[in-house]
Symmetry: C4
Subunit: 223 residues, 4 copies
């Protein structure tokens, strides 16, 4: 029962996150010819929703909403293999439902095929850097300033939308949802595997870096 | 006397909220031909004012400013039927006065008839989703991180302005005020009943979800 | 000596505030033909600097930077007539120096004559409403959530830049500085007296409202 | 070993900061013809990343990422000459690597020669004012509200991007990185020495001002 509640929180959080990423992209793109203005609206909505979602669900499920984060928590021995797998499944189902909700609100076909090409070495490097920054920020700040984790997640993604060339998907479940929309926030399905792989690489590098900055003290694992 | 003070807080809060929603829409629309830029200004002002209003009045009246929130508090047995009805009345009177204040500041007719069509299934779904997110965020965060509720309210509405197709009215009193303005933030009076109905549906769904995430413990009602 | 330190804090704070208001207006106006985009930059800079200045100087001088606020503190018997007068003088000197600093940084004549007309009943009402909101927010939040006052001041001015027709000067010292610049943030000297008068009216109304929401308890004055 | 960890934190922080400053400038500039919109994106990303970096690394290295800050800490006798020198070196190496990372993500030559002229008295004055505000804010807020330092740093730089004529580099290591990019955030190498010199002057003035506002109490040095 407790696990069911945690999985529901992960699914609902991923749903609202994906609906925000995609929905705000659709609205912004329809209102302006200026892509930077559209990205400002997209950034504002995504970051604001992330802060809210982490505040809401941190005490229920840990507020991952992101298979790369759940993988890191598994490797840090904070969750079991079974729970990490179920978290990932819930996040992916939630994110796909979020894409459908965004499309329904804007009277578009519920499931679409992403058509924006985002490939190549530069995109791969961007996703690795973006996810590295996200996961390292989470691991460092939850230790030093746990009450600030929600703000950290929102801010690091807000920055990521601008400083990386891929606009910082940094989340395999959201990447999956973005393959299902032919709008501003979409991506071609063919590009998704490389994105997800590089996100996992970035997350693993962040776990290593976090251990460098705070290795084990005695028997207690810090990360 | 204490109730009078609470009702005054609800009325003044709803007044300042509605004046901000409508006034910032008028100014933004007059300064730019780009609707996304106008919405950025509208979003920034609304979210900033909401954070301030909740900080100001949470300790006086609970800072609802929203009949959908008062209804949920009634159903959660945190306020009486009489108080919820008086709160709703105060919020509506305040919001209408706020529309008039905004019009007076911009030298426009004090009361107008909204002329922007916002109807159909997509709009209904949007208002339901927007109010669900708002009310669930309030119910979850006031339990887990009460000091962060003011930020939560501002941020969830900032996101809502962009991720929903209706720009997230999410408040029957503000919806009423918006039927009285033929400016950027307005809506046709004929569309208001569906908006208000869907806002209530969204609020009730949020109450149910909040109970799912934290059911009764012993005799204590959590929500 | 202690008073000298407080006056220096008020002067330096008003200097940085006025330089930010005017400097960001000059830069924004030079970079874009879209007045709403310029106002976004102007708003962002002003609000960010206000939060920082209150965090920096609240513990030194109370962080007024505003003769209308010092007047209210005088009426609330929290400072002497002499101190309020010296605060006001320091704020005005600082704000004028801030205008000069902004002009120097942008290679403009150090002192200019404001040339933007901002007059009439609508502007008067706007300044009254803007200052009412600012002062009421300060008085309510410093009582209920003192650690949040810095954010409150920044956010209420950010909202005020958009929801009022006058862009919310809300500060007689900053109004004085703005009569000395013929740039984006300027105002005609002839319009300043009405602005300052309405700011004081708004501040006094806020003091009355704050007392309504929290009257004396026993012998202790709350406001 | 402990020093190595601190130096790694300074290098990684400066890397992520420089990559954000330069990367967000490249993306923003490519998306819009409006320089103020581009600066909004650049500001948002830089400020958000600064808040995150200070939250992450304050407990590890003090989160300077800035030779002007390390110099002030040396003069305040909070670090040794050796450590300040090594901090400065780490910050510069990190910032240069950050420029290279940004270029790699956008498929540009890894090292370039900055070509934007930023010279003259007005620019010198701007850098002095910007760094004065940054360092004074850090020194005052870490004493009065240490938990708010991360926000302070982000906000004072966000304001600085707009209220100064130089967009507030305020950091010799970031200035070095900006000489190595021929993009939106770049600067000519020939202009860098004056920038760095004025940043140091501004930092020293801030140290003096901070001592004015809080001189020694007994034997304890406050700053």
């Amino acid at each position: 029962m407790n696990l069911a509640r945690r999985l529901a929180a992960e699914a609902l959080g991923a749903l609202l996150l994906a609906a925000t990423v995609i929905g705000s992209g659709i609205l912004a793109d329809s209102l302006t010819p200026d892509d930077a203005v559209a990205l400002l609206g997209n950034t504002l909505a995504t970051a604001a929703m992330l802060v809210v979602l982490v505040l809401m669900f941190a005490g229920v499920s840990g507020a991952h909403f992101n298979p790369a984060v759940s993988l890191v928590m598994l490797l840090a021995r904070e969750m079991s293999v079974r729970d990490a797998a179920l978290y990932t499944l819930s996040q992916c189902v939630g994110a796909v439902c979020g894409a459908m909700l965004a499309h329904a609100m804007f009277e578009l076909p519920l499931l679409q095929t992403g058509d924006i090409e985002r490939s190549g070495v530069a995109m791969a490097l961007s996703e690795c850097a973006a996810t590295f920054a996200l996961v390292l920020a989470i691991l460092m700040v939850r230790r030093a300033r746990p009450e600030a984790v929600a703000w950290t997640v929102g801010l690091v993604i807000a920055a990521g939308y601008w400083w990386t060339a891929s606009t910082s998907f940094a989340n395999p479940a959201v990447t999956l949802a973005r393959t299902l929309t032919a709008t501003f926030a979409g991506v071609r399905p063919a590009d998704a595997p490389l994105f997800a792989a590089m996100q996992i690489v970035g997350a693993l590098l962040a776990l290593g870096a976090a251990r460098l900055f705070a290795p084990e003290k005695g028997h207690e694992r810090i990360v």
